[in-house]
């Protein structure tokens, strides 16, 4: 088991955002979390990272209890985050961004890791000395993914990677998610509003509502489930 969350509660001040979450991610899986705005998807992902720390429950990563570790210690255990809104370092160059991603990794792997990023995202190699803030939204998202990969993570967290991107980039991002999993054996936890696409790439999925898991199953099961179709797929305009 790569990641287990057992009965995790989280609070933002007095707001009780997560009510006893149970989530499991196995090695080599793509697991997706879908849910409406404010359902607690991002909170769940961030509480994995200790922001905010779980107020109750247990988070176990790769056999180690990480519930009470600080954010940077969790990151050093081999979890990489592609944050919502990308959060690249805009005034620094593309190369510097990638370099910072590798800051905590073994320097011996640097050449191989950067070569992997170049082969997945040739556009980044063309723009290495360009300021990251001048990239387009889709390119920035690729940079954010590339930066996360530079640390050689065991588990990759993607928080709304398709948010605010042009359709052509959205397709490309989901394609990348699939490639990472199939060709590089990456375990991925994906949070998405774009339920249709996310369920198609996912092995398993959880539906989050008001801070609770209301449904879970394989991607195909949830895609076929009438509740999911009604709530997230039809009439929502996602295609």
């Amino acid at each position: 088991m790569m990641l287990t969350m057992e009965g995790v509660h989280a609070h933002y001040g007095h707001i009780h955002a997560l009510h006893g979450i149970d989530v499991e991610v196995q090695v080599g899986e793509i697991v997706t979390l879908i849910g409406a705005n404010g359902a607690g998807k991002s909170t769940l992902m961030m509480s994995l990272f200790g922001r905010p720390q779980a107020s109750a429950g247990r988070i176990v990563f790769d056999g180690e209890d990480i519930t009470h570790l600080s954010t940077h210690d969790i990151a050093r255990r081999g979890i990489a985050l592609v944050p919502e809104g990308r959060r690249i370092f805009p005034r620094m160059t593309v190369l510097e961004n990638l370099q910072i991603g590798a800051a905590q990794a073994d320097p011996a792997n640097y050449e191989a890791d950067i070569a992997r990023v170049y082969s997945m995202f040739p556009i980044l190699q063309e723009r290495l000395s360009q300021r990251a803030g001048t990239l387009s939204g889709g390119e920035q998202q690729m940079l954010a993914i590339g930066r996360a990969l530079m640390s050689r993570p065991k588990l990759l967290l993607l928080d709304e990677p398709s948010l605010g991107l042009a359709p052509i980039y959205i397709r490309r991002i989901f394609q990348i998610v699939r490639e990472l999993n199939q060709d590089h054996g990456m375990t991925i936890l994906l949070v998405e509003q774009n339920a249709n696409q996310a369920l198609k790439v996912a092995h398993r999925a959880y539906v989050l509502q008001h801070g609770e898991i209301t449904l879970s199953g394989t991607g195909a099961e949830l895609l076929a489930s009438p509740e999911v179709r009604a709530a997230y797929l039809e009439g929502g305009g996602h295609a």
Binding site: H72, R87, E96, I100
Partner: protein, 443 residues
Amino acid sequence: MSTVVFARHQVTATERFRDAGWVAFVALILGIPLIGLTTVDGGGALEVETRFGVLAIFVVVSFVGRLGLRWLIDTMGARKLERLRDDSNKSAGISPVKVVNILGWIALGASIALPIMYSDNRYVVDTATTVLIYVMLGWGLNVVVGLAGLLDLGYVAFYAVGAYSYALLSTQYGWGFWEALPVSGGLAATFGILLGYPILRLRGDYLAIVTLGFGEIIRIILVNWTEFSNGPNGISSIPRPSLFGLDFTRSPAEGEQTFASFFGIEYSPMHRLIFLYYLILVLALLTHAFVSRLRKLPIGRAWEALREDEIACQAMGMNTTNIKLSAFAIGAMLGGFAGMFFAARQGFISPESFTFTESAIILAIVVLGGMGSQMGVVLAATLLVLIPEFGRNFSEYRMLLFGAAMVLIMVWKPSGLLSHREPTLRLSRGGAAINDAVKEAAQ
């Protein structure tokens, strides 16, 4: 990039006049109580007199001044647009990095030659020394504000810690300049960490307020703790630094030699001034080399990443606590060195030298120079020291001139004189990244 539109609203004459009219109207409303009415002593009782003539002049000046200012801003804006248009058409030309590099070498050459050319002009050498102190302070604060993005309004506190450490160590315990140097720097760095700890969670405005308070605390302690710091009277007869044991005095102490007697030249008080000048030049250059080197190491990139996005930094596995504390400590240490030199040069220090105004000027140097730009600091420090000096002829309007110059710079170059950021990594022809740190780490 090819679809950038350079459209701009053309301001008509009527709009200009209406705008100036408004300003004149506000001037009139404000002017009536401030200028139009005045009280005179009319034999025991106060009488109100009117000065409508002066008021009229004031209103007219506001009107014309506003027209002129508007026109100036508009034409400058238009010129800038024109330049942008030119740049997007032909991107060739000399790169700004090259220009800055050339400027840097010229400045270095000039600063080495300066005391030779002005070896008999005390005023020039003294002023240049002051410029260099501010350059060094600016470089130190640049680590905290420019690179790590932590707004520090109390930087003068570390300057004071450095100065008082040396003053007390030398006058109370007889330490020499060179022995006290690492201790003063270390003490200032310790204070940097001391300040850093409670404010780890603060950012932006909140951070600024606490650092401002810290600067004041240090100054007020120095004023009030008389047994320790001699209070507002300050500490005097602080020994001057020597050149490998050679003093810069007229007559040598028994069994020792002075600089003049050792080299067999005639004693001149200028020797010490020139020595002090070269000393601060060396200290400043070492600071520059140190900071430039750090910037290219992982720690420097971590500082810049912290400035850009703290949450992303943590997600990359960086310990932001250590990054912030190291920025504060190193910035403080450099400020401490500068403070120590200041004490040794002046021979007398008092809390009056370490007021908030100093912090504000150092911060202004960093901001006017362009946050994070090393050459920008040199340019801004030179301007900010020289403008009040040239302004001496205008006596009480000196600070007005100083303020106006700062406003003009910010209107003309809102992101600082040299806002170009040089990447810390370069690409070779083959496309591979060239970075010493990476190579060293890989071996």
